[in-house]
């Protein structure tokens, strides 16, 4: 039988390409990086994504590295781990998170996942039902949209209000929801906006969720990375008003995104999530998916216990300095305006006024050109739901940040519309 005439039963369908190539931060970054001029000598300034781990000043705590090495050497963690995660790790995470809460989490409230990414995957799979919809912030983190599409969960976007510190537009939330709405996702501290919500605002969100009878999914991957006047308050504090599921990981606070260890935590003293069958679903999903390496789980107790407070405060200090540099330098660039100074996370969202530019029609074109001409990578807001905005990370070595912002200014000057 000839090769050429063979028919193969697997065939990617027409139009499947859209589903097959979702917008992801990684995807857009790859596209921008591909545009960089290969002959350019200057190093690339990565202002497009939140991964400061490559810079020596952001190196993770030695206690964290030691914890991993010890776990490996013990040879006690070469085995499979239980579905929801090693008990010792779950207990350590429960205690760690409880220190910010008015009640104590149990290890059974903790489910260990492969980074926050898998936490999102599992939560959305667990919630998906025919006809259900979920409320996501705009601008937001596109992975939620991606995963919702995979699970056939309808997405409805509510606005974050730039002139109000990027707070949730609660009226929009109420207008959007109906009897098929299952949950609202909030990201606090905020990605991409750099906002940190007050306790009052979080309580209002909880009140609204209760009124609408929906779950609050609080993405707190940037927990405690706040450097402004508003302290971090966990959404779990308001679980008596509406059930809260918290997603988090060690990636950002410990600056180890490559280690892939995260969690789903149910804040549910009234057992509502249990009764609804949702906690069982979370376990069922985890049963059919892979887990983080057992030795990394095994390292968690030591990592949490032994990492010193000055490591955390050092990181926050660097972020504070960088955020200031970023905010101040951006103000010198006429085509860019920043409605709200960042107070947390690793990002700031700024508005781009293309009318002040020649030959650049939107944010994507801006980002493609600046990658090519200045070897600076910036995330276009269209990828996050807001066209003609830009997401800039300040979580890089301050001198590199200064260089990048200088190049940004030079780019503006080169493309400024002549008056």
């Amino acid at each position: 039988m000839e090769n050429g005439s063979n028919k193969w039963n697997f065939q990617q369908e027409e139009g499947e390409l859209n589903k097959a190539s979702p917008i992801t931060v990684r995807g857009i970054l790859n596209m921008l990086v591909a545009n960089i001029n290969k002959d350019e000598d200057r190093p690339v300034v990565p202002l497009g994504h939140g991964d400061p781990s490559i810079f020596p000043i952001f190196r993770t705590a030695p206690e964290a590295e030691d914890a991993i090495v010890d776990a490996l050497k013990s040879a006690k963690f070469n085995c499979y781990s239980p579905t929801n995660g090693l008990l010792a790790a779950r207990r350590a995470i429960a205690e760690y998170l409880s220190s910010d809460l008015p009640y104590n989490l149990s290890p059974d409230d903790v489910y260990i996942t492969l980074g926050c990414v898998q936490a999102i995957e599992v939560m959305l799979s667990a919630l998906a039902r025919p006809g259900a919809n979920i409320l996501l912030p705009k601008p937001g983190f596109p992975y939620y949209e991606c995963r919702a599409a995979c699970s056939n969960l309808e997405v409805r976007h509510y606005d974050l209000l730039p002139e109000q510190g990027w707070e949730v537009d609660l009226e929009a939330v109420e207008a959007l929801s109906d009897e098929k709405t299952v949950a609202i996702v909030i990201i606090n501290p905020g990605n991409p906006c750099g906002s940190v919500y007050t306790a009052q605002h979080l309580e209002k969100i909880a009140d609204m969720a209760r009124k609408l009878r929906i779950l609050v999914i609080a993405d707190e991957v940037y927990q405690h990375l706040t450097f402004g006047s508003t302290p971090f308050v966990p959404m779990g504090k308001f679980e008596s008003i509406a059930p809260v599921v918290t997603l988090g990981s060690i990636s950002k606070r410990w600056i180890v995104p490559g280690w892939r260890l995260g969690w789903i935590v149910t804040n549910d003293q009234n057992g509502i999530l249990q009764t609804s069958g949702l906690t069982k679903n979370i376990s069922s999903c985890l049963d059919v998916t892979t887990d983080p390496a057992t030795f990394i789980q095994g390292a968690i107790p030591d990592m949490i216990e032994k990492t010193k407070d000055d490591f955390f405060s050092k990181i926050v200090d660097i972020l504070r300095v960088s955020a200031d540099i970023c905010y101040n330098k951006l103000r010198e660039i006429p085509c860019i305006s920043c409605p709200s100074k960042p107070e947390g996370s690793m990002f700031v969202m700024v508005k781009l006024d293309v009318s002040l530019l020649d030959g650049i029609c939107d944010d994507l074109e801006f980002c493609l050109k600046i990658a090519k001409e200045e070897s600076v990578i910036i995330m276009p807001g269209v990828a996050l739901g807001m066209k003609n905005w830009l997401r800039i990370t300040f979580a890089i070595e301050p001198s590199v940040l200064e260089d990048g912002l200088k190049r940004l200014k030079a780019f503006y000057q080169r493309h400024a519309k002549k008056q």
Binding site: F10, P22, R26, D51, L114, R260, V288, T290
Partner: protein, 415 residues
């Protein structure tokens, strides 16, 4: 809008109905163990040899990881498809057993064999499609297929024929919607190793029906009998082959979760049909193995001495002998094919020789209770009234466990 009184989210009922899982049944058996029995529990129901000193991994492996962690260069996000150095190391390593050189481009890193299965099943699942799975088999395939709504059709492995694939059954089951067939070689749960000739026939049958071959080679390199292990990728010129593998079994580190998917396909069919693109897209949105673990892989492959592997094989061979010999002394158990690879063997249970035991699950529950020995009832892997016995434990405990099974038989033998 009228105020809802009920909470809007409810458990997704379909999810809860998936899977009989090994973990689930194991938990039931363990709960049946008599707490007052002072003898150590002998677990022949689950495959995780990492706990036994005779199977401890080579120190080179954790050292390679420690070096990667302490180098500080690998705390960052990894690329979707995996670190280039890891892909290259896997391509080189697997090519040692092949008559041609694999390219790193054909290698995708996954979080263990488990995620490799997840990725492949998810990519193949589409409305109306079906996949052919072996029976007995490895239940994660069924679980994942159910979760992704991919229809499953089972073909038998033939116990009287060294557990070879029933190719006639494959021909009957395959239709235009069959996208792929899965083989597990060396075999789990049967402990067999397919001959080169048989693999070639499988390739030809698959090609005839337009289906891809997924070769689960988690136990590659663990053939300790007379049949050498032949990778299915050898036949990539006949049919597109998707090989799944990991370091879990060969290095005795299932908890490390580091695996791979490798495509072997000399006519670029996997590319032309869009399969490769779909895999890439899936990897873009799924979690990855830790970067430092990937970075350690070249060191792990390079530095592990051959003696480490041959020592392991010696222990497994000894275990397989003990297992086969002891099972032959127990009249209600028949082992149709002496294990020659992997870590488990399938044994038929003859209930007619027993009193008061109604099926394989009942046998296993009572055995756990009376003798503190666990074996897996065959229904979990698709063969009711068979047993799956894991022999990959330390030889002395294996011997003890099998003697206790013999005692159990005597106590329950029909007069």
């Amino acid at each position: 809008m009228e105020k809802k009184t009920k909470w809007g989210f409810q458990g997704n009922k379909e999810l809860s109905s998936t899977a009989v899982s090994v973990r689930g049944v194991l938990n039931k058996l363990m709960r049946n163990i008599n707490e007052n029995d002072e003898r150590p529990v002998v677990t022949l129901a689950r495959t995780d040899p990492s706990a036994f000193p005779c199977f401890r991994t080579t120190p080179f492996a954790p050292n390679a990881i420690t070096d990667a962690v302490q180098s500080f260069q690998f705390n960052c996000y990894p690329p979707n498809v995996g670190l280039a150095s890891a892909r290259r190391a896997i391509a080189d390593y697997l090519s040692r057993n092949l008559s041609y050189q694999l390219s790193p481009e054909n290698v995708y890193l996954s979080v263990g064999g488990t995620q490799a299965i997840e990725i492949i099943i998810s990519v193949l699942a589409r409305p109306g499609a079906n996949i052919l799975l072996p029976r007995p088999g490895y239940p994660q395939y069924e679980s994942r297929a159910a979760f992704d709504r991919l229809e499953v059709r089972h073909f038998d492995l033939l116990p009287e024929n060294a557990w070879e694939v029933d190719l006639e059954a494959v021909e009957k089951l395959a239709d235009d919607n069959t996208v792929a067939m899965v083989i597990i070689n060396p075999g789990s749960p049967c402990g067999n190793v397919f001959t080169r000739q048989h693999l070639e026939k499988i390739a030809e049958t698959a090609r005839k029906h337009g289906i891809f071959v997924i070769s689960d080679e988690a136990y590659a390199g663990q053939a300790f009998g007379s049949n050498p292990f032949v990778p299915m990728a050898e036949f990539g010129s006949i049919v597109p082959v998707i090989t799944l593998g990991s370091i879990s079994k060969l290095w005795m580190v299932p908890g490390w979760r580091l695996g791979w998917i490798v495509t072997s396909d000399s006519d670029d069919i996997l590319k032309n049909t869009g399969f490769v693109e779909c895999v890439n897209s899936y990897l873009e949105i799924s979690a990855d193995p830790p970067t430092f673990l990937q970075a350690a892989l070249p060191g792990i492959f390079e530095k592990t001495k051959n003696e480490f592997f041959s020592n392991i094989l010696d222990v497994l061979r000894e275990d397989a002998n003990i297992c086969y010999d002891r099972v032959n002394e127990i009249p209600c158990l028949t082992c149709p094919h002496k294990p020659e690879g992997s870590m488990t063997v399938m044994v038929r249970l003859n209930l007619s020789l027993l009193e008061g035991i109604k099926d394989d699950m009942d046998f296993c529950l009572k055995l756990a209770e009376e003798e503190s020995v666990t074996v897996l009832p065959g229904f979990v892997v698709g063969l009711k009234n068979w047993l799956r016995i894991t022999f990959a434990i330390d030889p002395a405990s294996l011997d003890d466990g099998l003697r206790r099974i013999k005692a159990f038989y005597k106590r329950h033998a029909k007069k």
